[in-house]
């Protein structure tokens, strides 16, 4: 554990500085990239330093692999050319350029409105994808009233003239993101190809014309780039199953996509920061966001702290000299951790179910329903006006009670984890510390305060932070227990929110609200959900940057 975890410098300043440093680096990176793309200085410089080498680079920039071939490195030329060829083949086979060439353009010229989207109509995966990403679709069934597109009626599906079918913005956006990613990847390979032709020539020149043998080359690549080779499969997987979907969702935040937009009748459009403006300038949305955000932070904080404290208490008690059969107690108290979380949460939904749930049955059997009700009312958790059983989870007037239950259930679920963790940490405290304390005549209390507690806190501090971020996004704890309910009564929801059907429940945290926005209910506000996701991402990554900036071991090179 690093010492830095506990130094007293202002936390806020540290975060700000870390963020500042991050953006500074980002800015420099972007500027460098822009210079590389648009400023031909380095090309000029390359020609100045070594004309022949630069010529090889130029050859490779015309046809990938040509420069390498000229360098007599056919084993490099083949892969570079193959990648280039694959991209071209994909583009040609998925496109329908042959129809454009065979006179379809003349047969169906641009319509009266002058609209003709060449890449939409004839492009392949890549060009059409990028067209789609930029425009998000142009042609809809509504165009039929004004004469259709290129003089033909727009259809739902058309197998003869593909361009006659309507645009589906979702698909266009999705395929566009994939096409964009592939393009970026190819451009990287293309630049590497040019650089390689240039640099290889310089190397060959330095070696007085001796070209590396293919076998030597393969062995060198295998040895030097072994790290890259073994991480590439994982990264391809991450690229397609994590990164591209995230990119898609990120982009959705800048569109007007809600489920009100019917595919084929209207298209989704880029709306820039409009959704962000709705979220941050509309006071009614801001109000809901504030409530949900405060509850999320409160929940995440309470859930982490209560669980930690109880885990600590249990570990200390079981490990103390007053308790025998330590292993037995530990195994019993670990059970909540061993039961799958999904199952325990759904079980607790039953436990707190008002009709026939375990809690109300116990209270009724003990004849304590009224006493408990009175007690809860006095401490301000209960507000229900109905007589009879306590409605734990489903009464808007009992929202505070429901919130308390969420934290208590989380405590039940979570304390064993910390009990185990802290028990493990307690075992690592050197006995010599206690012996030294004994010699100095320290009391048991002092030993706890000055040896045990600091040691445990130091060892577990990073985990408290990760637990906090985990709870911040702990979708299951809310969704499976309360489903975000109880909901707000209709008259408490302002119109601008009600129109979009975007109101959260009273116990929704940000993440479960996002889920509701994009998957539940009549209107699905994908754009709103995306904006809130970006917000969560920013908040969480700030915490992470802060944590990491303290953890030296993360950055240590070895």
């Amino acid at each position: 554990m690093e010492k830095e975890v506990f130094d007293n410098e202002n936390w806020g300043m540290k975060i700000l500085r870390a963020v500042g440093r991050f953006f500074e680096r980002l800015g420099i990176r972007i500027a460098k990239f822009a210079i590389m793309l648009f400023f031909p200085l380095h090309i000029y410089r390359a020609f100045k330093t070594n004309k022949k080498a630069a010529f090889r680079g130029l050859l490779s920039s015309i046809i990938p692999g040509l420069g390498q071939l000229r360098n007599k490195q056919w084993y490099k030329a083949i892969p570079f050319f193959a990648v280039f060829l694959i991209i071209i083949i994909i583009e040609l086979t998925t496109g329908s350029y042959q129809y454009a060439l065979s006179g379809e353009l003349a047969q169906y010229p641009a319509g009266a409105d002058g609209r003709l989207f060449f890449f939409r109509d004839y492009g392949g995966y890549i060009t059409r994808g990028i067209w789609g990403l930029m425009s998000l679709g142009e042609v809809t069934l509504l165009d039929n009233a004004a004469g259709g597109y290129r003089g033909e009626q727009v259809l739902k599906i058309d197998r003869i003239l593909t361009w006659r079918s309507m645009d589906n913005s979702q698909t266009l956006l999705g395929l566009g993101v994939i096409a964009f990613t592939i393009t970026v990847m190819y451009i990287t390979i293309y630049i590497a190809n040019i650089k390689d032709a240039y640099r290889s020539y310089i190397t060959i020149e330095a070696n007085e014309g001796v070209v590396e043998e293919p076998k030597v080359f393969v062995k060198r690549i295998w040895d030097d780039f072994f790290a890259y080779i073994i991480i590439i499969p994982s990264f391809i997987l991450i690229l397609f199953f994590t990164f591209i979907p995230f990119l898609f969702s990120f982009l959705v935040a800048f569109t007007n996509w809600t489920s009100k937009i019917q595919i084929g009748l209207r298209t989704i459009n880029w709306t820039g920061l409009d959704t962000f403006k709705l979220v941050f300038q509309n006071t009614e949305f801001l109000g809901f966001f504030g409530t949900v955000f405060l509850w999320t932070v409160f929940y995440a904080f309470m859930a982490s702290v209560t669980v930690y404290i109880l885990g600590l208490i249990q570990a200390l008690i079981i490990e103390s000299r007053f308790v025998k059969f330590k292993r037995l107690w530990r195994i019993i108290l670990i059970i909540p951790w061993a039961v799958p979380g999904l199952i325990s949460l759904m079980l607790f939904r039953q436990v707190f179910y008002e009709n026939g749930g375990l809690m109300n049955t116990i209270l009724a059997n003990a004849g304590m329903t009224e006493t408990v009700k009175e007690f809860l009312r006095n401490i301000g958790l209960l507000g229900q006006t109905t007589e009879g059983v306590i409605i734990w989870l489903n009464d808007p007037l009992n929202a505070n009670l429901t919130r308390a239950i969420i934290i208590i259930v989380n405590l039940w679920l979570g304390f064993p984890y910390f009990m185990m963790l802290i028990t493990g940490v307690l075992g690592t405290i050197p006995k010599s510390l206690y012996e030294a304390a004994d010699i100095d005549g320290a009391s048991g209390n002092q030993k706890f305060r000055f040896i045990t507690l600091p040691w445990v806190l130091r060892a577990t501090a990073p985990i408290i932070i990760t637990t906090f971020t985990f709870n911040f996004n702990n979708f299951g704890a809310i969704y499976f227990l309360t489903g975000g309910g109880p909901g707000y009564p209709p008259d408490e929801i302002p119109t601008s929110v009600a129109v979009l059907g975007a109101a959260p429940g009273k116990t929704d945290i940000l993440i479960s609200w996002i889920y509701k926005l994009s998957f539940v209910g009549g209107t699905k506000n994908y754009n709103l959900a995306a904006v809130y996701s970006i917000l969560i991402f920013v908040l969480i990554s700030l915490t992470a940057i802060y944590t990491l900036s303290k953890q030296k071991s993360f950055w240590e090179e070895d």
Binding site: V177, P233, T242, L347, N355
Partner: protein
């Protein structure tokens, strides 16, 4: 003096150390005695249930747990291997011994012990009550939650929720219709999930060990950037990408494809596992690699022959978590595999108060069937997991 005496021991004990003590006395392996006690426990438990129809509740419980009682009584009666206090025979007379014990006795200790036990007992009750209620519901023949006894009532023991055949309450393991189903729906869902879990485990172990190895052993250009990207990916709310995934899966006809679903799990867990494996492998001394390298081992050989065998504990942790994951995931399979349901999706149907299949008791029966094996694996792997947790925690 014959030093071969029967005792209980703390080293290698699982509970009270009785079986280990027997094993040290007899020379037979401890698992045989453990197995014998477990069989005895199960036997008396079943016996109690069978006899329970004819005798009173109290006697039934006594019979049911008599195996456990026998174990605990032996555990209490057996002398320990090493004595904490001096014993009577070490003293000249009884008075001296009593004085010795009295000096050792402290009122404070007694009070603290009692308080500690009271506190722990309270938590045992809090922890076990909801779970026993679940067991109770699983074995009660009813559709009403309110008819479920709080603690299992074995005189009303019933397997109707699992094998019941009557019209209103079809059991989980019973065919809905005899048409074309190969397995009852619940078992079908169970095996779908099993397939996913096995593939998930294999792939995650392979990918994480490769990536973790690369990040712990090599310096390469862009390493920090990649690590930061992985960190950021971990931060992004996971089902934010779900919208896109659902769309892509429809686009490419992958809906209801279990391999594709597994790929999402694998891709999603690589970032987190990378940090754990990297943290562990960094503690394996580099001198091992260098020695192997001098002996002419290639990169691949160093990885497979030297490092990965040493990283087996952390791989075990990752394998267990990877195997557990799919059983408990609801949201992703519910949108991506609406037809071929996994267990969690299938169970959740019983939990939807608005759905036609709402039946909380049935849910608890199914959940119990699912939870028991998982719980046993988890408790068994407990140390391993704690080890993984602390290893990951200390090295970030």
């Amino acid at each position: 003096m014959d030093n071969k005496r029967l005792y209980k021991t703390k080293d290698g004990a699982k509970m009270l150390g009785v079986c280990k003590g027997f094993s040290e006395y007899s020379g037979l392996p401890a698992f045989m005695f453990r197995g014998a006690f477990i069989i005895l426990g199960i036997f008396t438990f079943v016996l109690g249930i069978i006899l329970g129809q004819n005798v009173s509740q109290l006697i039934m419980y006594l019979i049911m747990f008599s195996g456990l009682f026998v174990y605990v009584i032996i555990g209490l009666l057996l002398p320990p291997k090493f004595y904490k206090y001096k014993r009577l025979k070490d003293f000249d007379d009884l008075g001296e011994y009593l004085a010795y014990r009295l000096r050792r006795f402290s009122f404070k200790t007694l009070i603290f012990s009692l308080l500690s036990y009271a506190w722990l007992l309270m938590w045992v009750v809090i922890v076990l009550t909801p779970l026993l209620w679940m067991v109770s519901a699983a074995f009660t023949d009813t559709t009403l939650l309110s008819a479920v006894p709080i603690y299992p009532d074995f005189s009303q023991w019933s397997l109707a929720n699992y094998f019941g055949q009557d019209e209103t309450n079809l059991g989980l393991f019973v065919y809905k219709s005899s048409s074309d189903a190969v397995l009852p729906e619940y078992l079908d869902a169970f095996f779908v999930t099993l397939k996913i879990a096995v593939l998930n485990t294999i792939l995650i172990v392979i990918f994480s060990s490769l990536v973790g190895f690369a990040f712990s052993r090599y310096r390469f250009k862009g390493k920090k950037k990649v690590l930061l990207t992985l960190m950021a990916l971990q931060m992004f709310p996971s089902f934010m990408g779900m919208l896109a995934l659902v769309m892509f899966f429809r686009q490419f006809g992958l809906t209801n494809n279990w391999v594709a679903l597994t790929m999402i799990y694998v891709a999603g867990s690589i970032p987190y596992n990378t940090f754990i494996v990297r943290g562990f492998m960094r503690n394996i001394p580099k001198s091992l690699d260098e020695a192997a390298s001098i002996d002419g081992a290639t990169n691949l050989q160093i990885m497979w022959r030297v490092i990965i065998p040493l990283a087996v504990p952390i791989m075990g942790f990752i394998a267990v978590t990877a195997f557990m994951g799919p059983w408990l995931d609801y949201i992703l399979p519910s949108v991506i595999m609406p037809q071929e349901q996994t267990v969690a999706v299938w169970l959740f149907r019983y939990m939807d108060p608005l759905g036609a299949t709402y039946s909380p008791v049935k849910f608890m029966a199914g959940a119990l069937f699912l939870a028991v094996p998982i719980m046993m694996v988890q408790v068994y792997m407990q140390r391993f997991v704690v080890y993984g947790l602390t290893a990951g925690a200390e090295k970030g």
